[in-house]
Structures are given as C-alpha cells and as structure tokens.
C-alpha cells in the first residue's frame, strides 16, 4: 500500500514539474509595435515608430509618385508613395470586400483593403460587394440609406460563399478556402494576400479598354497568356465593372455620437458583369503552357454610372474550387 502511494506521488510530482516548466517556457512576450509615421521625409516622422499607421503628413512640395523600382510606372523623382504603383506580368490577387451601408463595422474592412492597395499597388485587385441584411435599402424620413448598391451577381456570390450569413464585414482572398471556409476576417487578409502574391504566376492577363463617349460603350479585350500547364480545368473568366468614388450614406460605429455618414466615399463597388454571374469558359478544359487566348466584350454603361470612375475587372478561376488564379483591372477611360 505504502509503496504504491509512493510511486503515485513521485510520478505525479514529476509530471507536475514537467508540466509547469513546459508551460512557463512557452510564453512569447514580445515588444509591442509602436504605431506612428515611419517615413523620415514626413513632417511628423517619429523615430520610435516601428509600424506606419497612415498618419504621415508631407510637405505639399514633395513629389508623389510610384516609389517601387519593380513597378512599371516607377518614377525615380518621386519621394512619397502615392499608392498607385502599377505592375505588369506579375501574379495579382483578387480581394473581395463584402459590405453593407448599415454595417457599422464595415468601414474598418474598407480601410484595411485600402492599406493593402497602398502596399501592393495594383497587384491587389479590389471589388466591394454590397450584400445581405446590412445592404438593404431603407425608407427613412431624410432619405438616408435609400440606395440599393446590391447587384444580382453579387447576391449570388454572397449566397454561394456564405459571407453575410456569418456577419459582415468579411472578405474573400482569391476565393480560396481557408480552414474549410471561404469568408475571411480582415485581420488575416494581409498574410493571405502576401502568401498568394509570393506564389509564381500561372497566367498573365493583359487588358485593353476602349471607350466611346458618344455611345457610352466600353469595349474590353483581354489576352490570356498561360505560363504553366494548368491541369485543373475547366477554367472560366469573369469580367466585371466596378465604380469608384460613390458618395452615399454609410454607418460607422467608431464615430461616437452620430454613426451616420452622409458623404462616405464607397470605392470599387461592383456594378455588373460583362459575361454573366459565373463568366465564360476559357479555352477547352485544361490549358497548356504557351497558349494565348483572347476574350472581348462590350458593355453600355448605365446612365447613373460615371465613366471616369469605372474600372473593368477580370479574373480567371478554376470552375471546381472557384479559386482565382489571376486577376487584372484597368480603368474604363484610359
């Protein structure tokens, strides 16, 4: 009896010691990031700051332009990044932000997407899809939230991927499944975008838009150059129209007293697809390296849409998993 008791005690004590040591050692206490302006050229540059929080104020005399040497529009004279770097012949990522005008947390996601656009230039292809309960138009005395920004294609995407059902905001990064679900919280967009952009490109999309003001018709011609053998066919291409700078109502819970913003600027809102909700097939089945295909569409802009702010967005995806393999966008009026 006594011996058994002894063994139990010894084993337990040993176990406790191992457990405690294991627990104590597994603690990563890190230095907290210091948010501030990290650009030495800015007026409010903070030498202690480790992470830029977008508050940099620059002297207007400083020339702004694309400061990334890898970009096609790199300007050696530019001192401040204007967030409009463009790239050709690189992999690009489609980021869809599912949002709604009465969703008070959604402006945070829009801000995150803007951050990513600034960091990666046009390698991040953005679309905002208004869908679900928080995108419903309202009939209020002052006419607020009366606009319906939803689109039939956007609604179908929302139903398919289950975004608004999980509560907005959330988004899709290349329409990929992460841990068994499509909708992703904005806190992981940065790492997912970085991981996707690090992958080698499988195809290039070269887009050329011609716009006729008289008829308000945009013609888009897209060349698809396949770089490696794509054996997970069939592949489809979706070509869509988005519009920037739409000034309309939006709720924002972080504003304090009044959460309603009458003049919020909505960007890259999805308007319509050129070729149907799920697009059209590219080639026949699998695609082989070296293949060059072309698709062209034309669309007459709706009277409410402002041509100067519209963009044509195109992306190729695998029909079986819906995963996007390359995306591209260019303004309607070049």
């Amino acid at each position: 009896m006594f011996k058994i008791q002894n063994i139990r005690i010894t084993c337990s004590m040993f176990g406790i010691l191992i457990g405690v040591l294991f627990m104590i050692s597994s603690c990563d206490v890190l230095d907290a990031p210091y948010y501030g302006c990290t650009n030495p050229l800015a007026d409010n540059y903070n030498a202690n700051a480790t992470h830029d929080d977008g508050t940099c104020v620059y002297d207007p005399s400083l020339f702004r332009g694309c400061t990334d040497t890898a970009a096609t529009n790199y300007d050696a004279t530019a001192l401040v990044n204007d967030c409009h770097c463009t790239y050709t012949n690189v992999r690009k990522v489609l980021v869809e932000d599912y949002t709604g005008h009465t969703c008070g947390n959604c402006p945070r996601a829009a801000e995150k997407l803007k951050e990513l656009e600034c960091e990666w230039g046009d390698r991040v292809v953005p679309i905002a899809i208004h869908a679900g309960f928080f995108a419903l138009p309202e009939t209020n005395a002052n006419g607020s939230y009366a606009t319906d920004h939803r689109t039939s294609e956007g609604n179908e995407y929302n139903n398919t991927f289950g975004n608004s059902a999980l509560g907005l905001p959330n988004g899709l990064v290349n329409r990929k499944l992460y841990s068994g679900q499509f909708p992703q919280d904005r806190s992981v967009w940065a790492e997912q975008v970085a991981a996707e952009l690090a992958r080698p490109a499988e195809a290039y999309l070269t887009m050329q838009n011609t716009y006729s003001e008289a008829s308000r018709t945009v013609n888009t011609s897209i060349d698809i150059s396949v770089l490696s053998n794509l054996n997970n066919g069939p592949y489809f291409i979706i070509v869509a129209l988005t519009e920037d700078s739409i000034v309309d109502w939006q709720k924002d819970y972080e504003l304090g007293d009044d959460e309603n913003i009458a003049g919020y600027v909505h960007n890259h809102a999805h308007r319509v697809n050129f070729n149907g909700t799920w697009g059209a097939q590219v080639g026949a089945g699998n695609l082989t390296a070296g293949q060059v295909l072309n698709v062209s569409y034309s669309l007459q802009l709706n009277s409410e849409w402002r041509d100067a702010h519209c963009n044509v967005v195109a992306f190729i995806y695998r029909q079986d998993t819906k995963e996007v393999i390359q995306a591209e966008y260019r303004p309607v009026v070049e």
């Binding site: 008791q5 139990r8 005690i9 337990s12 176990g15 406790i16 457990g19 405690v20 294991f22 627990m23 104590i24 597994s26 603690c27 990563d28 206490v29 890190l30 907290a32 990031p33 210091y34 948010y35 501030g36 992470h51 929080d53 977008g54 508050t55 008070g104 947390n105 945070r108 801000e111 995150k112 309960f133 179908e156 139903n159 398919t160 991927f161 289950g162 999980l166 509560g167 841990s179 068994g180 679900q181 499509f182 919280d185 904005r186 806190s187 992981v188 940065a190 790492e191 970085a194 991981a195 709720k251 924002d252 819970y253 972080e254 009044d258 959460e259 309603n260 079986d320 998993t321 819906k322």
Partner: protein, 583 residues
C-alpha cells in the same frame, strides 16, 4: 466542400426530402415510444431477474436524441425575412457505451440547414464528437473529444451549450489524477472544435488543486475548509503575418482559493494572460485599427453567508482584455478558450430575459452584484400560513477607463477606476403560496441597458426600463393545473421599441400533457406600424424522458442568453417541432 447554390427544382426536391426525413424520424420515434412504454411497465420486475445475467456481459449503451425543426413563413410586418429552404432543422444524437472502466462515446449532428440565429457554419452533418476513456483507480485518461473546466473557467473552459450553438470541445488527450487524498491534477492538450473541423491553434493546459483538509489528515476535522488551486494554459498558433511579429505561444496562469468557515464562504480566482493580439480586441486609434499588445487579467471574488432560511452573496468581477481564443482571427462563437460569466441575474421570464439581457464584454468590465434569498417563516404575519420566499438582487456593470498609450498598441488603466455604465439591474421577487390551490410569483425589475455597448451597435444609447411580472398558478386538483402570467415592460421616453405587454396561459396535466398560449403586444412603439401582436401556441407531450413539443405562431426577434453569452434570434413566423429523448 463547395457550397454551390441549388437550382430551384433541386431545392424543391431537397425540401421534399427534408420533409420526408422529418416525417420518417417522427414516425420511428413514435414507434419506439410505444414499444418502450410497453416494455417499461415490466422493466422493474425483469430488471431484477435478469440483472445478474446481463450486467457486465456486453456493457451498456445509453444516449439521447434531440431535434428541432421549424417551418418559416415570411412576415414582413415583424421583419421575418423569407427563408429559402422554408424548413430548417437541427438534430443530434449521443451514444455512450460503457463496459467496466472503459467508456466510448460518439455524437452525430446534423444541420439541414441550421435554424435561424445559429452560425451559418453549422451546415451539413457528421460525427462531431467521439472519445474513448479509461478510468483507473487514481488515474483517468481520455482521448478524442472532451470538455474540461479549470477553476471558474476564466482561464480555460471547453463546454457545450446546445441552445446557443456553442461547442468548443477539445480534440486531443486528457489525463486526470487524484492522489494523496485531496490533490487533483489535470493535463490537457489538443485542438478545439470549430463547427465541422478543428481550429488552427494547439491548446495545452495544466491544472492542480489541493483540498487541504483531505490531504493533510490532521486538518480533516477543522471547521475552516480550504481548497487552493492553480493553472497554466497556453496556445500555439503559427505567425504568418508579413507586417507584424505576433506571439506564437500565448500563455496564461491562474490562482484560486476557496475558503469555507461555518456559515461563511469566500471564493476567489485571478487570471493573467500575456500579450495576445486578436481580431476581437483591436484598438481604434487615430482613425485606424491597431493591434492590441496589452496583457489581460481577470479577477472574480465572491463572499457568501448562508444559514437556514437566509442566503446572502456579494460578488465582484474585473475583466481586462480576457478574450482568449485558439485562433487569432476567430470571431463569434468560435474557438473561445475560456468562459467569462456575467455577474448579473439570469432571468427566465420572456420580457425580462430576451429584450435587454446583459452579455459579458470580454475586452473590459467591472461588475458588482449582491444577491439575497430569504424565507419568511411560516405562521408569521408576513409569511402567512405557508411562508413566503423573497429574493433581492442588485447588479451593476461598468466599462473600464482606458487611456491609449504612446505606442498606440496598448492602453493603461488603474485597477479600481470604472468607466461608462454598461448595465444595471435591481430586482425583487416574491414567491408565496396563498392557499392550497393558489401560488403566486411577483417580480419587479428596474433595468438600465447600454444597448450600444452590449450589442455592438451605435445610436441607441442607454435604455431605462421597468418590468413587472405576476405569475399565478391555480391547482385544479392534484393532476391538473392552470398557470397565468402577465408581464409588462415600460421604457423611459419610449426608448427603443417602447412598452410591451405580455400574457400567457398554460394548462398542465401531470405527468403527460401541457398546452400554452401566449401573446406579446408592443403597444408602446414610437412607430405605429410596429405596434404588433405576437401570438403563439404550444402543445407538448411528455412520457418519462421523452418530450415532444409543437408550436405555432409569431416569435418576436429576441436574444437568448446562457451564462454570459448571447445569441440573436431573428423574428419568425411558423410552425416549430421539437423532440427530445434520452435512454
């Protein structure tokens, strides 16, 4: 798994299939109900006879089964949006097989599709819980899915709350040891359940508890009874963030003590967690969202006095950045590692429980509660012939006063300083048996509810309301009883939805049947079109451990809270069926 939308014709045939499945299962249940009722009559006799023969030979299987189905009619007046599937159903069944010291359990769940208000990630069906455990003398080992709680749960709690759709079981291994008479040790490791898969982070924990009076024989008979305990819990999740260095191993520790002396008892637990930036605790600074690198802490303390006929409890709780999950990006009821109880009274009457209930704010709050239960003795002036039960409760919750620090990735605050009012509830309840046939419950509440903070909205402010409830039970005879309930909610300045009135009538026929009819009327709503009536009727049949409930009517949008976590239930109109049994 691709979530492709069915075409219209496919969804029609799916619906017929669902109705067929529903019908088939209902028939089977009714079938075995009759079989079991026939069997149970002679169960006692045969049990004794066959006991020695059957026991231990093949082991035993027991389990339970439940499913809830609802058919939704669109009702634009109350805001009930059309449901494409029309019929939604949640179901689950548990089976446990025991043979000697060995136990195996399994649970099958199906959501075809999940009821409104449940997380949409509950979709499909499958085995979501399975385990095998072995119970030796002083050691117990479980592999597979299990639930576990360390102390009060503030540092780690894996549990299930089916009504809310909450289940964060750990899928891994657990070892429990009981040595030296009063020393309890537990060690767990695993990944947590996330709907039909597991979360990203690995959870590991260790807990030790010493019941001093049982461990040291010399103290066994002392009047002061002491139990102390401590825990370490950690999680590991890879950091792939390109811009920030995020902690991959996040650890938390806790100490707790429980002291009992005669009629007094003192209980306390303190938890501390290191930096843990997550999606749920970001800070909004200078127009942008910043990651929060603050450590977290939690303190829960309770002092209670109880004697025959009187019980008094005073408790306090301070939470600061204690949202602990095994995946940084998880939101909603997903991958929570701990449980932060709300220090407010849990109400059950409709208007008191589902309009303005409090939900714990894991990012920071200070709560305080006093609870008194007193039994006015029989034959006294106030107590009457049968005595009277009185319950008084006062609770108040405030936020913390945080000042963002210079780095913008954390904040400072002082321990005792409390900020904005989040919630206040003053209530009095009297339960009195008026005569052998009449029993009366009277309840009055005064609630202050900061809707913006508690529900994560803006523009609603704090809603002040008074609620009065009268609940009278009339026993016609030993088997039949009639219960009448009248409730009224009165808000100050017609805030939010304004005033509500509710009446309920319930007839019970022990032990098998109950019928209830109720109506809620939002007569005080500022908007005339929203002054609606919500009628509903329920009928239920109970046989031993089986209960079948059928309901029909309008259900107003409300909040269902269990513990300190709440789920929003949208408004609905239609038929509901619920079957539950255990065997």
């Amino acid at each position: 798994m691709i979530l492709v939308r069915n075409s219209l014709s496919e969804s029609l045939s799916n619906r017929t299939k669902q109705v067929k499945t529903l019908g088939l299962t209902v028939l089977t249940i009714i079938g075995f109900l009759s079989v079991s009722s026939a069997q149970s009559q002679d169960s006692t006799a045969t049990a004794k006879k066959d006991k020695d023969k059957e026991k231990g030979k093949w082991g035993e299987i027991h389990g339970n089964l439940q499913f809830d189905a609802q058919y939704y009619n669109p009702d634009s007046a109350i805001g009930a949006l059309p449901v494409p599937e029309k019929l939604l159903m949640n179901g689950f069944t548990n089976l446990i097989y025991t043979k000697g010291k060995f136990t195996v359990g399994v649970r099958y769940e199906n959501y075809l599709n999940a009821l409104q208000g449940f997380d949409a990630r509950y979709k499909g069906q499958g085995i979501t819980y399975r385990y095998a455990s072995f119970d030796a003398d002083f050691l117990s080992i479980t592999v597979g899915n299990f639930y576990e709680q360390f102390g009060s749960g503030m540092i780690m709690r894996a549990y299930e709350e089916r009504g809310l759709g909450f289940d964060n079981a750990i899928d891994g291994a657990r070892v429990k040891a009981h040595v030296l008479g009063g020393v309890y040790l537990k060690a767990v490791i695993g990944k947590q359940r996330s709907f039909f898969t597991t979360g990203d982070g690995i959870v590991r924990g260790f807990d030790g508890e010493i019941a001093i009076n049982e461990t040291f024989k010399s103290l066994a008979d002392k009047e002061l009874r002491v139990t102390v305990g401590g825990s370490f819990v950690g999680k590991y999740q890879e950091d792939n963030d390109p811009d920030f260095e995020l902690p991959e191993n996040v650890g938390a520790w806790a100490v707790r003590g429980n002291f009992q002396y005669k009629k007094w008892s003192l209980n306390g637990e303190y938890v501390n967690k290191i930096n843990d930036p997550q999606a749920t605790n970001t800070l909004f600074v200078n127009g942008s969202q910043h990651r929060n690198f603050n450590p977290g802490s939690g303190l829960l303390a309770t002092l209670a006095y109880s004697q025959k006929g009187l019980g008094v409890v005073v408790s306090a709780k301070r939470i600061d950045n204690m949202d602990f999950r095994s995946d940084r990006a998880a939101t909603g009821f997903n991958l929570n590692m701990n449980y932060l109880p709300a220090l407010t009274r849990q109400h059950t009457y409709q208007l008191a429980a589902s309009l303005y209930p409090y939900a714990t704010q894991p990012n920071g709050e200070w709560a305080f509660q006093v609870d008194v239960n007193y039994r006015v003795p029989k034959k006294s002036k106030l107590g009457g012939k049968y005595g009277m039960s009185v319950a008084l409760n006062y609770s108040e919750v405030h936020g913390l006063k945080n000042t963002i620090n210079a780095e913008g990735s954390g904040y400072t605050n002082t321990f005792f300083e409390a900020g904005e009012l989040y919630f206040r509830d003053i209530n009095v309840e009297i339960i009195k048996k008026l005569s052998p046939k009449f029993k009366l419950n009277l309840l009055y509440l005064n609630i202050a509810y900061n809707k913006d903070v508690v529900q994560g909205l803006a523009g609603y402010g704090t809603i002040y309301s008074n609620i009065g409830i009268a609940d009278l039970t009339y026993s016609l005879n030993t088997r039949h009883a009639l219960r009448m309930e009248v409730q009224g909610l009165f808000t100050k300045d017609r805030a939010d939805q304004g005033d509500w009135a509710m009446a309920l009538l319930e007839y019970t026929w022990s032990p098998h049947l109950f019928v209830a009819a109720s109506a809620q009327y939002n007569y005080g709503n500022k908007v005339e079109e929203k002054r609606l009536v919500y009628p509903s009727i329920f009928i239920g049949y109970i046989h031993n451990a089986t209960r079948v409930t059928l309901g029909y009517g309008r259900q107003r949008a409300g909040i269902l809270c269990v513990g300190g976590i709440c789920r929003n239930i949208p408004a609905s109109n239609g038929i509901s069926l619920s079957i539950t049994t255990s065997f």
